[in-house]
Amino acid sequence: MKKLAIFFLAVLLTGCVDKEIIDDINIEVAVGYDLLEGSEDTYRGTILFQEFQTDKSVINRTYSGNGLLRKDLILDVSKQTSEPVVTGGLKLAIFGPDISEKGIYDLVDSFQRDASIGARLFILTAEEKAEEVLEGNYGSRGNSTYIYNLIEHNIEHHDIPYTNLHLTMRDFYQKGEDPFFPQIKKISNDKVEVSGISLFQGDKEVDVLPVEKMFFFKLLVDKYSEGNFEVKLPGGDLAAVKSIRSKRKISILDKKTNIKITIRGVIREYTGKTLTQEVIKKIEKGLEKEIERETLKLLKKFQKLEIDPIGLGRMKKTQTRNFDFKKWEDDYKNMDFNVTSDVLIEETGVIE
């Protein structure tokens, strides 16, 4: 009897669990934030939903709303949609330029408080308004999937350093490391491209790295990475080098930081005649020099901007007892960098 009572109690209590049947909800797949025009703190948010058609095609629908908190946006949008809005499918968060400069922490914070949002969410910045980016029509599988896959494969095989919501939150809370986000740009109504890396100081955007610098940036920031780079040889010939494995080793001393970058690469393209051993050596040397020059430039730039996307402060902290962060900030400004690199071309293609 007691058992039966417990059983029925359990059954009756289940009225409390909210059901979200997948075809009776609007799943938010991407969200964009801009600053409302003529306002200081109110933002304008845009939510992207996917509407699946019976022929398996996808219609992108965007709804916009204004507010001070992220919840305001969902309330605003819920007034317009036929079904309840849920956030579990969120894959992308895009921030417009004005709001990035103002600070995005409050908005990003709400993502990690929402248990249904996964840690693999990509946070992006946009060159124009986020609303405009989301209102395009990219690909046949929906805007969110398109942009998500675009960023994902660029992280895996190309020059965007590894990033997602989880790492971003770590960077926000970690002293001695600043976050960075990929930046995208809408080039036409059905095309979007990666246009650089937004460098942040805390939660405010301070600079954007152009696409050409991304390879070097990734070498500095990621432990292991793949990437592509072109080397211009003295004779005017061009060689495309794909790094298949790269490693960086950083040792931070009091006044000086040594960074050693090792790259194992293959030559994918070469415009000259024959690719002799001498030429390969030349390419290696050329790339080494270029890497040393460019990464040093980047490091100087970070020093000037007072940001630390590599996380040198974090690394130093893990190695130092009673780490004094105030002192580190001064040290970092006057830090000397020494970058050495070692490039080894392992393969030049099937025709040797």
């Binding site: 359990a10 669990v17 059901k19 979200e20 049947i21 075809d23 699946f52 019976t54 579990g88 599988r141």
Partner: protein, 538 residues
Amino acid sequence: MLSSLFLIHSAKWASFLLPSIHKISKTGNNKFNAENDGDFPMKRWLKNKRIKEDVKHKEWEQSFIKSKDFKKIFYYNQKTNIRFCLTFMATLVDENIIQDGILPNLLEDEFREIEDIKQLVPVADVQICDDPSLIEQKLMNGYVMLTVETEMKHFGFIAAQKEIVRGISQPEVEFSVIGPKEAFVESLGQNLNLIRKRLPVKELIIEEFTLGSLSKTSIAMMYMENITNEDNVNTVRQRLTNVKFDAITDSSYIVQLISDNSNSPFPQLLDTERPDRVAGILAEGKIAIVVDGSPHVLITPTTLVEFFSSFEDYFLNWLLSSFFRLIRLFAVAFSILVTPIYVATLSYHYELIPKDLMNTLITSRREIPLPPILEALFLELTIELLREAGARLPTKVGQTIGIVGGIVIGTASVEAGLTSNVLLIIVALAALASFTTPVYRMGNTIRLLRFPFLFFAELWGLLGIVFCFCILLTHLIRLTSLGRPFLEPLYPPRVTDMKDALIRLPFEKQSKRPLYLRTKNPFRFSKKKAEEKQDIDE
């Protein structure tokens, strides 16, 4: 014309009253039959007196004489003129035996007293006793009772059972492509023969019990004397003797009557129709129970994993059979869990659906008016209906029903927008997967288990499935078969027994008998001796 009419008439009369006598009087010597000896007045007088005596039926006869097939016939021996009587149930005895093996000798040879039948009757099973309480049992077992008027206290019993046995056919449920093709039949003797043939050692003990107050079913318990654990044997013996039931018509009754927990959906005794499997498990140290009239032999104690191992696994290479066992394990998990997971995910956990699958799922459900649980229940019940209908109908109609049901109902319900085609595929696959269990009984259990899982998936989503799984696991851990843990070797974990559980290692690695059986002789063979290389004489 007249004579033919008479013939028909008399034939009718005879066949109505005494079908067996009719036959006997045609072939046997009917000169001294009680009905035809009108020549001697003295005898007739005697006879009349005797008939009066005979009419006063004895107590044990009272209910017998109401049956049409009860026969009590008097004969006279030609040489000694002694009057004797054969009593038997016409439906249970083979008349040819009486006619050819018993009557000629009793009528023509010198027959004086009941002891003589041991010389005269060429039948192997001849008994003489003086206990009238045995009469009923013997008659009902197909014996012919012989009484002589001079010795009313002694009864001779001559075995003349009519054996109507189906020929040995191929196993239907546990069919295997490789290996023996014999299956048990409905006769205890035949089944015991099939098993003994495979284990021709004196250590194989057969104990017989008679159970059922009405059915008097013979039940044989088999075990290996020098291997099987004494406690197990005692437990089975005790449980069998404790059975109180009126009619035991199949071994399934015994399964339910002697199992440790009869409220469990899991069968705790394995039933098989393969004599080779029974021989195999007897050698392992398990106990087999053979029930007369049932083509399924019970095996005990058993474990859960045994229900998922087909005997064909032992005919295949260990790599193959391990692979098939793992496939079966996956199939069972899939069959139980896939529909509940579908319901749980679609009702509660849309976040878990990969973004590429979202489109497929949503578009297939777009037009469906039912929530996932009703949709799933509708399809699951349809499949169950098809199965039940298919099982009850004759084979040929059954096949048609399967095809009609599977294709027509499935497609139509998708087209009508009652169910989504994704779920149709899932449910069909789950049904298919449940057929992979080699033991039919376990397949039925799996059919049932899906529904509580569905119920909890609807209540609390994946959490509910985990909850239900915990209940199931608790139940399985508590379950025992003959007092031995049912979940062994998974829990309690036993490495030795793992070698023949989810996977099967080669025979040379399995030198020990299953641990949980606690056999008297835990070694199948000496590993050392097996590893010794023998020289080849040239």
